[in-house]
Assembly symmetry: C2
Homo-oligomer: 301 residues x 2
Amino acid sequence: MPPFKKIVIFGVGLIGGSFALALKKAGVVEQVVGVGRRLETLERAKSLGIIDAIGDVSAVTDADLVLIATPVAQTQAVLASIAPYLQPHTVITDAGSTKSDVAAAARLALGEKIAQFVPGHPIAGREQNGPEAALADLYVGKKVVLTALPENASTSVASVSAAWKHCGALIHELSAEEHDAVFAAVSHLPHFLAYALVDDIAANSKADLLFQYAASGFRDFTRIAGSSPEMWRDIVLANQSALLVELDTYINQLNKMRSLLQAADGNGLQKIFSQAQTARQSWITAIEMAEQKRTYEQGGD
Amino acid sequence: MPPFKKIVIFGVGLIGGSFALALKKAGVVEQVVGVGRRLETLERAKSLGIIDAIGDVSAVTDADLVLIATPVAQTQAVLASIAPYLQPHTVITDAGSTKSDVAAAARLALGEKIAQFVPGHPIAGREQNGPEAALADLYVGKKVVLTALPENASTSVASVSAAWKHCGALIHELSAEEHDAVFAAVSHLPHFLAYALVDDIAANSKADLLFQYAASGFRDFTRIAGSSPEMWRDIVLANQSALLVELDTYINQLNKMRSLLQAADGNGLQKIFSQAQTARQSWITAIEMAEQKRTYEQGGD
């Protein structure tokens, strides 16, 4: 018998749908039930073989595992709606990009049942969204960060961890605070900066002329400014305090470099540019080595 | 007889070498002479068929056209060194990323012969450098900005323009000030911001942890921070005043967005994110339409 008899997924788009497809492909789940606000989306997911049945909040009653993969702003409401139906053996996890706020929301929504909730964040995505974008191998070789709560039983954490491992993911554990500081720096801040630059240029009286000469470097730098404004509004608000810290550090760095430029301090600027180039090159090399190692361990070529 | 009997190129790397290969492929030049500081590089360029002969500054004496494609910091010295050999029929151009400083340097170096110098900036590049990186079709469909001086005869501008058109490039004309303001905004500022972010993260006490979770968005955003520190030191210093204007505008924009984040003003942030997303999408659409139109006009598919 597969380890999971029934998994309930709230939100059957790219993230939730790929989780379902991966577990089915691994043969570790008997039944996947989808729940969501739009029946039409659920029906598409069912016809694509992502879910076996469409349910409502009461579906969690006899579930082994529940994944909340709705937009983050809905997490608290979803948790509150399922709380009355939760049985002690059911483990819940989520897929939100911020974790301190999710833990706080879960405490409010679940009360005494908080020990059953193991927060998580799969680091994977695509440009496309919706059930049609879901892929059985989206999580293969990707990181999933679990930010376990002090109340979590180790068996609950192990259950969530096992599900993601069956999807091919690599499990990392961080505290919610560490997680949020890390992603403020390497993800939320770059998005904020890219949006700032494109809006800045669009507001210029010579915007048409400027865009005419923007080339491939600008295109790559601003790719993340093509992301969903609603989603990123929610993320930056959810991670407000950590992002403010990173933003202030960055603005200080820019002001320092502005002074060097104003003083025409070529050596000072070159030192910073070189440090950045070297750090980035080391990072790329480390990524490539890790990828080779993984390919080797998997017996691939 | 081809329109150019003799072209002299200072610096036979990616930019100068590709110019030579493109003109040879078009069959519009009888002889290309390469000049440079490193004999070994010139010999490699000759064995690759990029240049026909290796020369020194005196080679410009009977040249129709001279291209300065050395690092920008050397432009003034190169112009000063060739000034004594320049005959009235010879036209000179360059390939530097900044134009006001080049015009000023040329005035100092060339004196009365300034009318023979038509400043230019081909908007093309690759990650690789050196003669081995040169490609005959590097400039096909790419923009070349000419920032003609008031002193230039229209025949001189036409000669430089013709050479670049033979390379397949599209000619644009701007004033040096317009050029420098445009590239400060869409190229020099993004490089500055990307270097700032990577150095900022590398200096963090948890840098190793941060880099471990940096993903594809970060990789694209910071790709330009992999560029040559020496080259970018020279560019930002050469375009100091225009870059300071753009940098100050950007820092103001960031401070405005910081206030919105601090005030948890979701609507205000979403508005900026949306404006940026929309502007970027329009820009990408315009690029794609221009590419299709060009393909159509060229009779391609």
